[in-house]
């Protein structure tokens, strides 16, 4: 049986160093300043103390990790909570955290070895009983938002104070990756019991920072956890996270020196940022991509040749350059190049080849200009721009593009009713790529809008990807899965959206990750 243990995985510090070096650092101003930014990221002697001011764009609905649902919540949660399993920032491969190792004695049992000597902020110990209490709450809490993530979980068995077994109803090897997400955050069972409904406003985890206060819509404040299990961490005395919903205002507050970090910078702002001397940009590709779903259950796009033609017709490099400016990367599959499940062969299936596309359209029985395809999208300038580009590429190979547009809800409703041949929308990624492909392509999933079976082999491969557990075996299955999806051309991947974060020059050791989830707890401030 495969085993991932702490000894085999890279050390925490090595991961952080590699992450910082792997990220693209765009320093404002001169090349010298850029070099300085890179050097600063690598600098090895952290300075202790200081309070970081990191702007987050949305007030959380709750700080209870298992009943909240907003993507931006992770920025707050990751300061106060540790997850059972963490991930490498670049490949998202699972690495030890509260669980030091995990094994599959059989396909329906996942055994977690727990880190010893860890205590929650309220002084109670983190142990197997605490893990069991957390999972039972996730399964039974009426407002639990993680029930679907752990749908395969039947029961939790305490084997020893530091060993716990998760018993599954059916094999599901996406579970370790699910434990890197919301379901992996561990709360103090004592605090959960005592605080009940008010827990979400006063959370207790094992993380680097302890909760201090939450002024609604204004700021969330956390302070250093003196008993943190990672030796010598955290470096900061505390973090103030002001909540500023407007990204431009947040960015301005960093340029003005009021705050240190601002998230979600618009790619079009980059040239202006270059002119600012006080700000460094961290740009990192994420799993979030611009793409189109295809309704492959009805004519004309039930014809594989036409789906392939569309995939050949689009110059993804040119598309990315226009839509993203100087950042981002073309997407050829739903898996970014640095991810552990990436497959080069699948990604090179459709080079930009308008002649090939024209030939396929002709082969499918359409004279140039005779084929009309309808695109569904929510009406906004960004989507309009993207559709205009795609429309021009399709026009060049003899496919006319018409559109169905309106509000997000109206067009989604029409799309569900079978209006439109493809739909432009972003895909935000899932902790485990098996979840992405199951959602996109299984006939049981709402994202497979026509509920058609794309190919039996593909369905079997998706099922297999959730039952295999050894990392090498999973990698092989995903290579097959990605190639099959490309062969049948079931989606139109376009480009990966980067996560762009503006940092004050004092911020050190900010490590962006492929999941696009900002984390502040490991940061330190230069003098």
């Amino acid at each position: 049986m495969p085993q991932n243990s702490e000894k085999h995985g890279p050390s925490r510090r090595a991961v952080l160093g590699a992450g910082a070096a792997g990220a693209a650092w765009l320093a404002a101003g001169s090349p010298a300043a850029e070099a300085q930014g890179r050097q600063a990221a690598r600098q090895q002697t952290p300075r202790r103390g200081g309070t970081l001011r990191a702007v987050v764009n949305a007030n959380p609905s709750t700080l209870d990790p298992h009943t909240g649902g907003q993507g931006t919540d992770h920025a707050f949660l990751s300061t106060m909570f540790d997850k059972l399993i963490d991930y490498e920032p670049d490949s998202l491969a699972p690495i030890p955290s509260l669980a030091t190792a995990w094994t599959w004695p059989d396909p329906r049992t996942l055994v977690l070895e727990l880190r010893q000597g860890v205590v929650f902020h309220d002084g109670t110990p983190f142990d197997a009983a605490a893990v069991k209490a957390n999972f039972e709450r996730m399964l039974t809490h009426p407002r639990s938002t993680v029930k679907a993530d752990i749908a395969a979980l039947a029961s939790v068995e305490v084997l020893a104070p530091d060993r716990v077994a998760l018993k599954l109803k059916n094999p599901d090897t996406t579970l370790p990756m699910v434990l890197t997400d919301r379901a992996g955050y561990m709360s103090s069972p004592k605090a959960l019991a005592e605080r009940g409904e008010s827990y979400g406003r006063n959370p207790v985890g094992t993380g680097a920072m302890e909760f201090v206060r939450w002024a609604d819509g204004n700021e969330i404040v956390v302070r250093r956890n003196a008993r943190y299990w990672k030796q010598g961490e955290p470096y900061l005395d505390g973090i103030v996270m002001p909540i500023i919903t407007d990204a431009t205002t947040a960015l301005r507050s960093v340029r003005a020196g009021q705050n240190h970090i601002s998230l979600q910078v618009d790619p079009q702002q980059i040239p202006a940022m270059r002119r600012s001397a006080d700000v460094v940009l961290s740009v990192k590709d994420t799993m979030r991509l611009q793409q189109c779903y295809i309704n492959f259950s009805k004519p004309p796009l039930n014809d594989i040749r036409l789906r392939q033609a569309i995939n050949y017709a689009i110059d993804r490099a040119a598309y990315t350059r226009v839509v993203m400016g100087e950042v981002g990367g073309p997407a050829h599959t739903h898996i970014p190049p640095t991810h552990w499940a990436y497959d080069r062969e699948a990604a090179s299936r459709y080079p930009f080849d308008p002649d090939r596309a024209r030939a396929l359209v002709r082969e499918a029985g359409f004279a140039p200009g005779a084929l009309s395809v309808n695109a569904s999208y929510a009406s906004n300038q960004l989507n309009a721009q993207r559709i205009e580009i795609i429309s021009s590429f399709l026009d060049r190979v003899g496919i006319k593009l018409t559109s169905t547009t309106g509000t997000l809800t109206a067009t989604l409703q029409q799309w569900r009713e079978g209006v439109g041949d493809f739909r432009m929308a972003n895909w935000t990624g899932r902790p485990d790529p098996a979840m992405t492909y199951a959602l996109l392509l299984m006939p049981t999933s709402a994202f497979n809008i026509g509920r058609a079976v794309p190919s039996q082999e593909l369905i079997d491969t998706i099922t297999e990807s959730r039952t295999a557990s050894a990392p090498e075996e999973r990698k092989r299955i995903f290579a097959r899965l990605l190639r099959l999806e490309r062969q049948f051309a079931l989606t139109i991947p376009l480009c990966f959206e980067p996560d762009i974060v503006a940092l004050s020059r004092r911020v050190r050791n900010y490590v962006p990750n492929l999941a696009g989830r900002s984390r502040f707890e490991q940061v330190w401030l230069a003098g």
Binding site: D315, S403, G406
Partner: protein, 289 residues
């Protein structure tokens, strides 16, 4: 020497057209509108480039000999898009105002003429419609109807109609008290005859003036809807849509916002002064004053 009150004095009074043409502002307005109308109709012959042809190798290029107003985010010629955008903007504002008048005038006429419960019923509906900001109402209607230029015109027409109804009601109430209406009624004219033959022709002047003044608002309303993605659909060019796209590139290519912005400002200004001219044309008192 003051003109004596004689038949000659009347002849010596300058014609209304002459008075208008003596006003430089009016001449400029009329010249601009004539040019605009010409461009709107002949865009497909005048425009130097295809307004929807992309050139991704020449995006966000500033003005040059080949592209007088530069190229946009997708390498399209801005001048050509401006020319093609004139048609939808100008004709849809005219159509929207005509629609608003066609809805508002009959209801206002009935409310003012019949009074009583007819007036009360129509009055409550116009009150309800007027309680929404016009643009908000238009956005709501466009969102319900679906996104297209035709629907945007319908939305603006509906949103502007209560103003016409109010105006028509007020003038009708004044006109129906006039002696000639009483006289017609006395010789046995029915309500339809009275309304169409006597009331409408004598109450319609303020409506025409109002229509002229509303053209500018309708232009901006159409641009707002296109700006919000509820009007003209891409890749077709519209001034509001061009402005919305320019907003995304405000930091990188600020020059993109000037052509559609200036076109909108100048045209709204021209429509407003056209309304003002209509008022002076139709109201003899203002000419002599």
């Amino acid at each position: 020497m003051a003109a004596p009150a004689s038949p000659q004095a009347r002849r010596r009074r300058p014609s209304r057209l002459r008075v208008l043409l003596r006003d430089a502002g009016a001449v400029v307005t009329l010249a601009y509108l004539a040019l605009l109308l010409f461009v709107a109709i002949a865009a497909s012959w005048l425009a130097p480039y295809d307004p929807v042809r992309l050139d991704l190798t020449a995006t966000l290029a500033g003005p040059s000999a080949a592209h007088w107003a530069g190229t946009d985010d997708l390498g399209r010629d801005v001048l050509s898009r401006l020319m093609y955008g004139a048609g939808p903007s100008v004709f849809s504002s005219i159509a929207a105002v005509m629609l608003a008048a066609m809805i508002g005038v009959p209801f206002g006429l009935m409310a003012g003429f019949f009074g009583g419960w007819v007036d009360a019923a129509i009055g409550r509906v116009t009150d309800a419609l007027l309680s929404f900001p016009t643009i908000l109402l238009a956005v709501g209607i466009a969102a319900v109807l679906g996104t297209s230029l035709t629907n945007a015109v319908i939305a603006i027409g509906i949103a502007f109609s209560p103003g016409f109804a109010r105006l028509m009601r007020a003038t009708t109430m004044a006109v129906k008290q006039e002696l000639y209406v009483e006289a017609a009624r006395a010789i046995g004219a029915g309500p339809v005859w009275l309304l169409l033959r006597h009331v409408l022709p004598n109450a319609v002047t303020p409506v025409i003036v109002n229509a002229g003044l509303l053209l500018g608002n309708a232009l901006l309303a159409e641009a707002s809807l296109s700006f919000l993605g509820l009007g003209v659909q891409p890749p077709q060019a519209s001034w509001g849509g061009m402005l919305a796209r320019a907003l995304i590139y405000m930091e990188r290519a600020p020059e993109l916002m000037y052509p559609p912005g200036l076109a909108l400002v100048l045209t709204a200004l021209a429509f407003n002064s056209l309304g003002e001219m209509a008022r002076r044309w139709l109201d003899p008192r203002s000419l002599s004053g």
